[in-house]
């Protein structure tokens, strides 16, 4: 499809028109050069000025040397999806500077390391505005002490923060506060970094009378909000959701979830009396052992979880089938990345929908939750434990690299007020009353969910034998055809019960339009921005449904039935959710129009707009033909 629109039309740059709080800025550096602190400070400075902001780190699968880009989007209306076109570039990386400039949109502003010579004859583009800053010379001034020489590579990053602050109107006081927060407890580092930021600011003041017309102006849209990565938010959800066993194996982009859990537990899960831990966290030898530990712990009655990414789910699949069939609770976070195989391990994708929903061999289906924000990572982690124990089955929480590892502005998390829902567990007294009448896999309540006991329950009738092979209501081994059918049919009934319990969709039907966008997870941001722009700029009114879980519940099904053209936005090649929707709603199959992005980058609104307009053009042509 050819590009049907550009994001920035006759905006600032072409004229001297000032644009307040609406821009996208990208910093290009080399991986491992220590730019992360500077980029976080820059983002937080804008946040502290009350402007909605998001930060996305595009990094390589490498520790040091390969290029990395950090993109900040500030937007007064709260749009925080990635933008295709950049307004301001900070070029610090000689390896990528030429490409960065070549790909810049006409009218963009380029702050660069003077040594790179980007304005030399033959290289300079006439349609860009350049600011050459001798960063490497400047930084020597404040790191002349021998003990500082090694820090130059790091400190130089804070100099560009100062330059950008001056050029774009960021209050340096907020930058200084952001530095103090970022480097809390390291007074010397704070001083040196503040000096660096001032150095940049002063240089820009003295040398660049003409500023960048994209301005940061104070507003009040971030009051009370926080900045956090989705993985840290999910880890907090596990802490407050009462998880007591965690087993994991390192994998990008998931590792920071369990590492955050370790950090939080070091503070929050120490028994006040014994000073010992009331949690157990195991870095296992691989993902197979991780899920084995999780299932063993959950079988014994602990709230347990693991976190991984697509390759880890593949390794876990046999055990997950056992968890499904033996009916053992487990919470599995999948922080999706680009696959198959090693794929692009540091890029984002919504690629594991089918892998998780149908995970394992035989007839299997699992509830899958789709958090779309750090706040949902926090709340859905807690819901996942409740659901796992209530439904006695593995529950997937599908986040992705964009949500898990990038920094997001979020409302502060609400303190959980409901008790932990531990599901149908019989204690010794209950078993004593039932005598021999208890059957581990008996559907007493008609919802498909049986009752279980926990090892150690002091009653002679409480114990049972858990196996992945054929079993009857009493958990006895059986190969009888009817026993098998009865059991798997009951588990299917349980899945219908799950349908009524998983999180309901977010529905926004402002237009009661005949068509709508359906999205999930991080596709929310590009989709909702696109919906607003389609209405405002193209007169195309669309309703919106954000799916928050599988299986599809009645609310989402009703919404789909109400809309005769449904744009399903996903970040994968094969329209994986559409595959599920067409299977479960064959009568609606022709309504679903896949809108996809699968280049490893977070979804942008333009992709959605192009998808919708392209389809409408086709429809029109069909009608006229």
């Amino acid at each position: 499809m050819s590009s049907v629109l550009t994001e920035t039309t006759s905006r600032a740059g072409a004229s001297s028109e000032v644009v307040a709080n609406d821009f996208s800025l990208q910093v290009a550096t080399a991986n491992g050069s220590g730019s992360q602190t500077a980029n976080s400070v820059l983002m937080r400075s804008i946040f502290r000025m009350g402007v909605p902001v998001s930060g996305k780190n595009l990094f390589p699968s490498n520790i040091q040397g390969l290029p990395t880009w950090f993109t900040i989007r500030a937007n007064k209306d709260g749009y925080i999806a990635r933008k295709r076109d950049l307004d301001v570039l900070v070029c610090m990386n000689p390896e990528t500077a030429d490409d960065d400039v070549r790909e810049a949109r006409a009218g963009a502003f380029v702050v660069y390391e003077k040594k790179l010579g980007l304005e030399n004859p033959g290289r300079k583009r006439d349609d860009l505005t350049y600011y050459a800053v001798p960063f490497s010379e400047l930084v020597v001034k404040i790191t002349s002490a021998p003990e500082h020489a090694k820090l130059r590579k790091l400190i130089v990053n804070m100099v560009y923060v100062g330059v950008v602050a001056d050029l774009m109107g960021i209050d340096l006081e907020e930058t200084e506060k952001a530095i103090a927060k970022q480097l809390k407890g390291k007074p010397k580092a704070i001083d040196l970094n503040i000096t660096a930021a001032r150095l940049g600011l002063d240089y820009a003041k003295a040398n660049f009378p003409s500023k960048i017309p994209f301005r940061v102006e104070r507003m009040n849209a971030t009051q009370g909000k926080i900045i956090i990565e989705g993985n840290a938010a999910a880890a907090l959800g596990c802490v407050f959701g009462g998880a007591t066993v965690c087993a994991w194996y390192p994998i990008t982009p998931s590792s920071s979830l369990c590492e955050s859990f370790i950090d939080f537990c070091d503070d929050l899960r120490i028994d006040p009396v014994t000073k010992k831990k009331n949690v157990t966290i195991i870095q296992a030898e691989d993902e197979i052992a991780s899920i084995g530990i999780v299932l063993g712990a959950a079988w014994a009655g602990a709230r347990s979880f693991t976190s991984t990414s697509g390759p880890g789910i593949s390794l876990m699949s046999e055990f997950i089938g056992l968890g499904y069939y033996a009916e053992i609770p487990a919470v599995i976070f999948d922080i999706q990345r680009v696959g198959p195989s090693t794929g692009l391990p540091t890029r984002t994708m919504q690629g594991d929908i089918l892998l998780c929903y149908f995970n394992s061999h035989g007839d299997t289906k699992h509830p899958v939750l789709f958090p779309a924000s750090p706040e949902e990572c926090f709340t859905m982690a807690q819901e996942a434990f409740d659901l796992a124990e209530q439904l006695q089955c593995p529950i997937f929480v599908l986040s992705d690299l964009d949500l898990g590892m990038n920094t997001w502005m979020s409302d502060a998390f609400p303190y959980p007020t409901s008790p932990l829902k531990r599901g149908k567990v019989l204690d010794a007294d209950a078993i004593a009353k039932l005598k021999g009448g208890w059957g581990r896999y008996k559907d007493v309540d008609g919802d498909g969910i049986p009752y279980r006991t926990l090892p150690g329950t002091p009653n002679a009738y409480a114990a049972y034998f858990t196996r992945g092979s054929g079993h009857d209501e009493k958990a006895q081994y059986t190969e009888k055809p009817q026993d098998w059918v009865n059991n798997v049919n009951r588990i299917a009934r349980k899945f219908d019960t799950a349908r009524t319990m998983v999180p309901k969709p977010e529905i926004q039907d402002p237009f009661h339009a005949p068509a709508g966008i359906l999205a999930y997870g991080t596709s929310h941001y590009g989709s909702t921005e696109a919906r607003d722009k389609l209405a405002k700029d193209f007169g195309v009114q669309l309703d919106y449904c954000r799916l928050r879980a599988l299986p599809i519940n009645a609310e989402a099904a009703d919404w789909m039935r109400r809309h005769d053209r449904i744009y399903v936005v996903e970040q994968n090649r094969d329209a994986q959710l559409v595959t599920i929707l067409r299977d479960e709603f064959p009568e609606l199959a022709t309504r679903f129009v896949p809108v996809k992005q699968y280049n490893g980058l977070p979804l942008d609104a333009t992709t959605v707009i192009e998808g919708v307009l392209g389809d409408r053009d086709q429809q029109k042509q069909k009608r006229t033909a």
Binding site: G242, D267, N278, G292, A300, Y415, Y461
Partner: protein, 352 residues
């Protein structure tokens, strides 16, 4: 968890009971479906005897297994305990999860040579490294029974399959491997030596870390022929005990079987004592280097060394290394697992 006694069994004429007052019937399980004469059934019987003698409360035992003939056997003992028959080669991970979740449980794991040394070698290695409190029994017959007689990774070099194929690959010796990995209780026994096996099992139950017991357990259907090095006849002929084992559990005071004198003793933290009496060779089960050397030498001499090959009760267990409270994590009250409102507010403030 309280030590409330389980529901009493019908007892017409005061049957013989163990030191916690339970009859042996309370330690039995379902009827075995293995082949008649299977070595595994003998091991099951000795497990029942050992659990009974040690007086474990049945409801406080958790049984774990992987997949294979061996892994079916937890159904054949201790009906009153919970059992978890998991996936092939992954018994150690399910046991790890359950036993860290509830450290008050006694874990008994049963695996086979394929389940441990072939598909499960990774989990075997790591559970030994961690010293998880678990009795880990390998019912070792050198072949896959349920899939009809293929070699496993413990099959000896030159051993003949029933159909005549010869194994060309070096066997994995789970005992020397476990000792290399820092195993704290490593034993080998033979299903044909019931007395030794029971004593080793009792000592393993008293041991607080991982107790690895590789039990040569002939497969009467697929590996009991001429040319097999895991047949009953071959095993009986090559069984070479390194010592006579005696065991005095903490709740007993005397030991009848082994007279005092030239025996070596190893004390367990709970007060139980292991005694060893030499049988014509100088073997010290607390000397790691020498134990490994002796085992390696035995391979060339076609000896199946049996006994407690190495023991060190002093090493910290996984639970101790984790710094956990030691109490069950399965049903902690809400206030222990959900930090207070102010804790969340403090975190939120740090993120503003």
């Amino acid at each position: 968890m309280s030590a409330q006694p389980p529901a009493p069994s019908p007892a017409p004429a005061a049957p013989k009971t163990n030191h916690i007052g339970l009859p042996k019937a309370d330690y039995e399980g379902a009827k075995s479906t293995l082949c008649l004469g299977c070595g595994h059934d003998v091991i099951t019987k000795q497990i029942i005897n050992a659990l009974y003698e040690m007086g474990l409360e049945p409801h406080k035992v958790a049984k774990f297994s992987g997949i294979g003939c061996s892994s079916k056997t937890p159904a054949y003992f201790l009906n009153r305990a919970w059992g978890f028959n998991g996936v092939h080669g992954r018994m150690p991970s399910t046991a790890t999860g359950a036993l860290v979740a509830n450290p008050t449980l006694h874990g008994i794991g049963v695996s086979g040579d394929g389940d441990t040394a072939s598909i499960g070698i990774g989990q075997f290695v790591h559970v030994v490294r961690r010293n998880l409190p678990l009795v880990y029994i390998i019912e070792d017959n050198g072949v896959y029974g349920l899939t009809k007689g293929q070699f496993s990774a413990t099959a000896d070099i030159g051993a003949k399959q029933k159909g005549g194929a010869v194994n060309d690959f070096i066997p994995i010796d789970c005992c020397s491997l476990a000792i290399e990995l820092g195993g704290t209780f490593v034993a080998r026994s033979f299903s044909g030596d019931m007395k030794q096996l029971q004593l080793i099992l009792e000592a393993a139950i008293a041991h607080k870390g991982t107790a690895i017991i590789d039990v040569i357990s002939p497969c009467v259907t697929f590996n009991d022929h001429e040319g097999s090095t895991k047949s009953y006849k071959y095993s009986k002929e090559h069984d070479t005990p390194v010592h006579e084992v005696g065991f005095v559990p903490f709740f007993e005071e005397t030991l009848a079987e082994i007279p005092a004198g030239d025996s070596k003793e190893v004390a367990f933290p709970d007060g139980s004592v292991l005694k060893f009496r030499g049988v014509g060779r100088d073997y010290d089960p607390t000397d790691k280097e020498k134990a490994l050397k002796t085992i390696h030498e035995s391979h060339g001499k076609q000896e199946i060394l049996t006994g407690i090959l190495y023991v060190d009760p002093s090493k910290p267990t996984f639970s101790e290394l984790l710094g956990a409270t030691g109490e069950s994590l399965t049903s902690l009250p809400l206030e222990k697992v959900r930090p207070g409102r102010e804790a969340l507010e403090e975190i939120m403030e740090s993120l503003r």
